[in-house]
C-alpha cells in the first residue's frame, strides 16, 4: 500500500480515496479493489487450441464486438459475427457500438469491463497502452488465415498494416481500412475543359489561373479541420526529401519541422491561399460543407482520404467521375517520383486485456481479416481493406477503380502516414491550428515551421507524455 505524506500526516492511498469518495458509492471510481492498485484479474475464458480453433477460444463463452458507428454504419460487423457464431454455435456475440466512443468506453475500461474487441476511433491508444489495457495481437497474426489456406493472417495482409498500431515494439492496434490520401477531382470536369492533372507544382500553378478563369475555384479544403492540408504538405515534403523527414518528425528530433522540404511544401499551400485559388470562404466551412461545394463543381481539387466517396454519399452527381491522384512533385530533384501516394492505415482495432473473453476478441479480428468479411465490407463501404487479393474482381465505382490504379502505380513508392498524430494528440491539434493560420495567411511558411517545431519541442520536453519511436 502506498503511503503519502500530506502536511505531516501520513495517509495511505486507500484512506485518501475513502475520504474522497465520502462513503458514497461512485460507479467505477469506488470499486474499492480497482482503486487499490493492481487490477483484479477477471477470469478469462480460454479453450483448447485445435486446428480449427487456433487461438484456443472457449466455444461457449460470450463475446462482445464494439463498433464505432461512423461512416461505415452499424451493421458491417455482422458478417464477422456470423462467421464466429457459425464456428462456435454455442457462443453468443453481442454487437454494441456508438459514436461517442470515448464517453462510452472510458468508464468501462476503468471498471474493468471493456468489450472484447473494439474499433477505437477517438480513443487515445497510447494512453491505453501505457496503462496496460491492451492485448498484444501477434498471436492472432501468426495464426492461420481463415480462408487463405497455407498462409498466416499476417501473410495475407498488406505489409503496411504491420507498421500501424505498434507501441513499444509490439502490435496492439490492428489496421483494417486501407486508406489512401491524395488530391481528388472530377475527371469529366477536367476533360470538358481540356485540363490534365498536373504532375509538378509548376504545372499546378499554370493550371490554377485557367480554372479560375472558367469560373471555378481551383482548390477547396475542409476549413474547420485544417489537418486535411497537413497531410499533403507532409506528403510533398516526404516526396521531395525522402521518408527520413517523417521519421525525424515522429521521433521528435530537434529541428525536424525546420526541414527546408517541409517549409517549401507549406509555402506551396500558402501560395495557393495568397493567390486566391481557394474557394472563397473555405476556411470557415466544415468538412462536409467544403466537400459538398467541391462535389457541386464549385472547386476543382480537394485533398482528402479515400473515405471521401462514402462520406459524400448521394451528394455527388452520378456522372461525377471521382478520381484520386498523388500530390504534384515539388521539383525535378524529388527523391520519390510523382506516383508516390500516401497509404495510411490506422491501428484501429484493439483487444482490451481486461475483457472477459480476449481470445474471442482475437478470433473476431482473425475472422474480420478474412477475404469473405473484407469483400462484404468493401461492397458496403466502397473502401479497400488491408486484406490482399480479394478486390481484383470488384468493380464498385470510378473512385474505387482510381484508387486501385493509384496504388498499383505507386508500387513500392507508397508513403506511410506519420504516426505523431496518434502518438501525441495534443501536438497534432496544435500543428493543425498552426496550419489553419498558414492557410488564412496569418503566418508564413517559415513561421509555420517554427510554430510546429515549438510544439514538437514542448512535447519532447513534457515528462508526462509517453514517447514512442519508429
Amino acid at each position: 500500500m502506498d503511503v503519502y505524506d500530506i502536511g505531516g500526516v501520513r495517509v495511505d492511498r486507500r484512506a485518501l480515496l475513502r475520504l474522497a469518495a465520502l462513503g458514497i458509492v461512485v460507479p467505477g471510481a469506488a470499486s474499492a479493489c480497482a482503486f487499490s492498485g493492481g487490477s483484479t484479474t477477471t477470469k478469462k475464458a480460454t479453450g483448447t487450441k485445435t486446428a480449427k480453433n487456433p487461438l484456443g477460444v472457449k466455444p461457449d463463452a460470450p463475446a462482445e464486438f464494439f463498433n464505432f458507428e461512423g461512416g461505415y454504419g452499424k451493421d458491417w460487423p455482422k458478417t464477422t459475427i456470423g462467421l464466429y457464431e457459425k464456428e462456435f454455435p454455442m457462443a453468443k456475440v453481442k454487437l454494441s457500438g456508438g459514436q461517442q466512443i470515448q464517453q462510452l468506453l472510458q468508464p468501462r475500461f476503468v471498471e474493468g469491463d471493456p468489450p472484447d474487441v473494439c474499433s477505437s476511433g477517438g480513443l487515445d491508444i497510447g494512453a491505453l497502452f501505457t496503462q496496460k489495457q491492451l492485448t498484444p495481437l501477434q498471436p492472432m497474426l501468426d495464426a492461420p488465415a481463415f480462408d487463405t489456406p497455407g498462409k498466416t493472417v499476417q501473410e495475407t495482409l498488406a505489409p503496411v498494416a504491420a507498421k500501424a498500431g505498434v507501441y513499444g515494439g509490439k502490435i496492439y492496434g490492428q489496421a483494417y481500412v486501407y486508406v489512401i490520401f491524395g488530391i481528388w477531382f472530377s475527371q469529366p470536369l477536367m476533360d470538358k475543359h481540356g485540363w490534365t492533372y498536373p504532375k509538378t507544382w509548376d504545372e499546378m500553378l499554370a493550371l490554377c489561373p485557367k480554372i479560375k478563369k472558367a469560373g471555378i475555384a481551383p482548390w477547396a479544403y475542409q476549413g474547420k479541420y485544417p489537418g486535411y492540408v497537413v497531410t499533403p504538405i507532409v506528403d510533398m515534403a516526404q516526396k521531395a526529401a525522402g521518408a527520413a523527414v517523417g521519421v525525424a518528425v515522429d521521433n521528435l528530433q530537434p529541428n525536424a519541422w525546420r526541414n527546408p522540404a517541409l517549409i517549401a511544401a507549406a509555402d506551396k499551400f500558402h501560395e495557393i491561399a495568397a493567390k486566391g485559388y481557394f474557394l472563397p470562404g473555405t476556411s470557415g466551412l466544415s468538412h462536409t460543407q467544403a466537400q459538398a461545394y467541391w462535389a457541386q463543381g464549385k472547386a476543382a481539387f480537394i485533398p482528402c482520404g479515400s473515405w471521401l466517396e462514402n462520406e459524400l454519399g448521394t451528394i455527388a452527381p452520378k456522372d461525377f467521375g471521382m478520381t484520386v491522384k498523388p500530390t504534384p512533385s515539388m521539383a525535378a530533384g524529388d527523391k520519390i517520383p510523382f506516383e508516390g501516394i500516401q497509404v495510411s492505415v490506422g491501428g484501429d482495432y484493439i483487444v482490451p486485456s481486461h475483457g472477459k473473453n480476449p481470445q474471442g476478441g482475437l478470433e473476431l479480428l482473425r475472422l474480420m481479416l478474412s477475404k469473405q468479411a473484407a469483400k462484404k465490407f468493401s461492397v458496403g463501404s466502397k473502401e479497400l481493406t488491408v486484406v490482399t487479393g480479394y478486390a481484383d474482381d470488384l468493380t464498385i465505382s470510378t473512385a474505387f477503380q482510381s484508387r486501385r490504379k493509384a496504388i498499383a502505380a505507386a508500387g513500392a513508392n507508397t508513403l506511410s502516414g506519420w504516426q505523431y498524430s496518434t502518438w501525441y494528440p495534443k501536438m497534432s491539434a496544435d500543428i493543425e491550428t498552426a496550419t489553419g493560420a498558414l492557410l488564412t495567411l496569418e503566418i508564413g511558411a517559415d513561421e509555420w515551421s517554427r510554430r510546429c517545431q515549438k510544439v514538437a519541442d514542448a512535447t519532447a520536453k513534457d515528462s508526462t507524455i509517453t514517447k514512442f519511436h519508429r
Binding site: A20, D124, G281, S283, G284, A429, T440
Partner: protein, 308 residues
Amino acid sequence: MRYGRRSFILSFITAPIALYIVFVISPYVQAFYMALTDWQGYSPSMNFVGAANFTRLSHDSMFWLALRHNLYLVIAITATVVALALFFASMMNFGGSGAGHGGRSAIRGVRGSRFYQIVYFFPSVLSVTVVAVMWQFIYDPKNGLLNGFLSAIGLDSLQEVWLGDHNTALWAIAVVAIWGSVGFYVVLFTASMGSIPHELYEAALLDGATRLQTFWRLTVPLIWDSIQVAIIYLIIGALDTFALVQVMSIGPGGPDNSTQVIALYLFNNAFSYSKFGYASAIGVTMFVMTLLCTVVALRFSRRDRVEY
C-alpha cells in the same frame, strides 16, 4: 411534538440533500482529489503528484490565453446583456408612457409589448446546440444569411468569414451568447419592474421628470436586486462558455486558438489528450475563479436596499 416536527422536516430534506451529495458534492470532492494525481482515465490506477498539475498550469500559455478569452466574454456578455435587457424591459413597461393620452393610465409599455416579450424569450426555449447550429448557417461565408444580407444592402466590403477569421470569431460567438440570453433577462427585469408601484412613476411624471431620469433614479434602484442576480448569473455563464464554442468554432477553439476558452481546454485535456488529472486541476482552478468572481461582483454591486 418537537421530535415529530423534526422528523417532518427531515422527511422533506433528506432526499434532496442525498441527491445533492451524490451528484454535486461528491464529484467536486473527487475532482479535487483527481487534480492531485496523474490519472489518465483508462485504468483505475493513478499516482499522487501533489501540486504538480497546478504548477504546470501556471506555466501553460494556452491556459492563460483561454482565461483571457473568458474574461473578454465575461465583460462583453455581461455588459451587453444587462444593458439590452434593461432597455427592452423598460421600453416594454414604460416606453409608451407620457401625458395626454385620453385619460388612460399614463404608465404603459410600447405598443405590442406582449408580443415582443414572447419574441425576446424565444431563444431561451431553444437548446444551445440548436442555436449554435442555426447561427453556423447564418455565419456561413458563402450562403449565409449575414453575408447575404450585407451584399443585398450593398455592403459587400463588410463581408467576412465570420467564424474563420481570428479577428471576428470570438465576437461572432459572443453575439450568439448575447442573442440567446437577453430574452431571459428581459423577462426577469420585466417581472421586477411590474412590481414597482405605478404611483411612484406618476409622481415623478407630475414633477416633470424625463424618461431618462425616471429610469436612472427610479427603475434601476428599485430593481437593483434583480440586476445583481443577472450580473452574477451572466459572469458564471460566460466563465463556463463551452457548448457554443465546441459546436461553432473552427478546430474547435480556432482559428489559431482565437476562441479557446477554459472549459474547452479542460474538455480537450480530458477527452482528447487523456490527461484527466490535469483537466481536473483546470476544473478546480475554474471553480475557485468562479467563486472569486462571484464574491467580487457581489461586493461591488452592493447597494442600500430600497423598501417600497
